[in-house]
Symmetry: C3
Subunit: 353 residues, 3 copies
């Protein structure tokens, strides 16, 4: 239906292994984005909230929230990678490198690192490594995602299957620290919690308690703020004919709500250093109330640093179900049906010194 | 009911031909407005999205979206011009002059250029030329609108009818280019489309494909961002007694949604230079899904410029109806009932050189 | 249910007379907050809207809205003071001191100035004086609030009752004027009303006319913008089991809507200097339409100033009921059931000179 001038997105057979895609819509971020992100998620981490706190931590000013940067870079990839997606299957090996500061201009590119047609020949899985850069050419983040993409023509030949090998987690030695970051003078009271890196132990589970109900206006504003154009989020008339009958909430908004909720229990996890893996287990809709809980998977020292350390966390978000009893997967690996997100990521916290 | 301190707005018999009205509420615009506009409309034009892209185009930084500036200036005129309006009938001869940059302070004035009482003597049509200026006194935009305004007193005498003659379109020679704008080094890939001015031909029609459903919170936030106080947008209790029973969406929000949708097919139309005419054909409400399509009316060279050219476009927005078959008016001039907006405007695009 | 790492808030028996609480989450405010506040409330006061108007008034640039600053400071106190509140009972003796400018970083502390257990021993009233400061250590505002807080354990011993004596109003001599503020060259037309301080008389009542209907997305975004974490505003699943069955609108959002509405009749009340007292008389919910009216209580000269004066106002907000007949309390002191807010505060207006 769309004419020749209109972008129809790529279909599975359009992708080639090793293909480089330069994504459109460079974006200068700033105080407006930070305020909107705060109003849409309720985040409270001190490093992103206060220029003074950031300066006391060795940074020039408060960087933008790590997930805000992630969503903006992700959004740029949508028109080229996932406009014809059936499902967004996962993320891995995401490293947060140069922090994003107000005034930075972000752009994104992707490289196809894997392709595998599905047995039904109607679609295939595309693996891309996407990279966000700032106006100085520094990489701000880099991640792999895989997505199931429709074929335009079932009869189209598919490339030989090639599936990348992905590490289970970004190792401690590969984590990047923001230039200048120094947490020797970290003010725990001001940040909102007395608990330092040393106080968390692998296996520990934390209920983040507070639930938040999502409205249509909120998730659409968030998704537009990221210039993410995936149609399932915006068009109720089209979605009414879909199997869910509803607009789907961008999965990244759930990530942000879970991260914001995690302040209650992890207030000093002031910086996301890596996302090791992430899966959206079920869709969320306006009206759903989102809760979250976290498990500490690993506790890592950072070589040469006494001021901070890393925790590898696993945060699960649920909908319409409190998380106080830590809903999870069962022995067969089947998730509690209320779980909508499983996110494996690595955060930096101050050490008590 | 309102006391003496409260502004009741002007009625038809309060206007005089040649009358000058200085509008209230000067407004400094900035990064917060740009971010909110983006989150409320999903706009993606590179010149407004990226300071770096704007600098590569010869501008000091990314200007605010042209329609954002239009809506803010329009909003200032509402308390004096259209608080007692029955209907906003049309726009014409709108030129975008000095770009609006973050930090600029906008104010507005209007001059009454036409008056015509309706035959029923209950109301009349007021024609005004409204002008927005920045803190340096430069005109940022200038336009004519006409609006049907109630009379306070049907018996009040009306001035002799005087209807201004309005050009059908701002001619190419009258278009203003932003100081410094130079598109020789335009990056088509980064902007999101390979299509240059030369690639569009008069008569060409483009379906912008994507529909977006409006929420009450969204249109009210947009309208308040413009400090537009027209009551029909905000008060559900009062509107429940109105013929529609609903809050009306500010027509300018539909203009913005149509312009944002037009990115898909017109991504390089980076600057609105003029609005030649505009009509709201039916009201929109929360829950409506808005689609848009465009027709290229004319293609103009700009004297002395090889880097850019102008297209005169006609964009129609529909509600709850896809635009792939270009819903329009019939041979009798009667519009498809799904059409809510017809906007005739002129945009600047890079030439391939 | 919450684990040891999670903040459960203080209960009545946790407070001690004279106790000092340093609140978490320092916050740098800026253009994004101002734009969002405008979009959420529709405020139009010229001093906050225009850098140029502010400069002509002797200030370096437009300060943030006084109530925006109040809500941000208030929000910081919630996790320590009112997470286990049954009801927020009142405010008093709030003085606005140093103006808040974009780039300022705010933090807050509180001192317990009164405690009184309720007769049922299930809860008690906590009186705190909360203080907001900027990054230079200047106090930006200072106020008393009292709140009914649950006991964790009914059997816990309570401190001896101690109730502070609070002035009925901040006296004129105690009002702080922003450094530099000079209204000799005040532009009444640009500000939106010809009425100066001299034009208002004690006893005068003003209907602010315009009603605005609240949406869930709006009040939640506003409350999150203030990093106010009170659970009753966000979690529909939990609220469904509450006596109202609905999310409650943060009372401060009603204060902001009433203040924004008061522009129509009080456009030149450009600065709130004090809040003498405030009470939320009934909860508001999404879907409610809020109206407001004001009574002039007192008119005060400011010593040594011919350019400005103060008015002590009493503004009442109603829901789903127009305010043209000034709904108030009856002879027995019982309020009209539509009244949701009574706010006694002091504003600065230009004098005609």
């Amino acid at each position: 239906m769309a004419g020749a001038k209109t972008a129809a997105g790529n279909f599975f057979e359009d992708f080639r292994l090793g293909q480089e895609l330069a994504h459109a819509t460079p974006r200068t971020v700033g105080a407006g984005d930070a305020a909107l992100y705060l109003a849409l998620t309720g985040t409270r981490f001190a490093l992103n909230s206060s220029d003074e706190f950031a300066r006391a931590s060795g940074l020039p000013c408060a960087p933008l929230d790590d997930l805000l940067a992630f969503h903006i870079i992700f959004g740029k990839t949508v028109p080229d990678i996932s406009l014809n997606a059936v499902a967004n299957l996962g993320y891995a090996d995401c490293r947060f490198l140069a922090p994003v500061y107000p005034g930075d201009t972000l752009q994104a590119k992707s490289r196809v690192i894997g392709l595998r047609e599905n047995a039904n020949r109607q679609s295939g899985i595309v693996y891309v490594r996407s990279t966000g850069t700032n106006e100085s050419g520094e990489t701000v983040l880099d991640y792999v995602r895989w997505v199931m993409v429709r074929k335009r023509d079932e009869a189209a030949p598919a490339p030989a299957a090639s599936v990348p090998t992905l590490a289970r987690a970004v190792p401690a030695a590969a984590l990047a620290l923001p230039a200048g970051l120094a947490l020797e003078r970290y003010d725990f009271a001001l940040a909102g919690s007395p608990f330092a890196w040393e106080d968390y132990a692998p296996g520990e589970r934390i209920d983040h308690v507070d639930g938040v109900t999502i409205e249509e206006a909120e998730h659409m504003m968030a998704t537009r703020l990221y210039q993410n154009t995936a149609r399932v989020h915006f068009n109720q008339q089209a979605q009414a004919a879909d199997r869910f009958g509803r607009r789907l909430v961008y999965g990244g908004h759930i990530m942000s709500l879970a991260r914001a909720a995690s302040f209650n229990g992890l207030a000093n996890a002031v910086k996301i250093a890596a996302i090791n893996g992430g899966r959206h287990l079920a869709p969320s809709f306006a009206g759903d109330t989102i809760y979250a809980w976290s498990e500490v998977l690993e506790r890592w020292e950072i070589a040469g640093r006494r001021d901070l350390g890393a925790l590898r966390l696993r945060t699960l978000a649920t909908k319409d179900r409190r998380a106080g009893d830590f809903p999870d997967k069962d022995a067969q690996g089947k998730f509690d049906p209320a779980v909508v997100l499983e996110l494996d990521y690595t955060v930096l916290l101050p050490r008590r010194g």
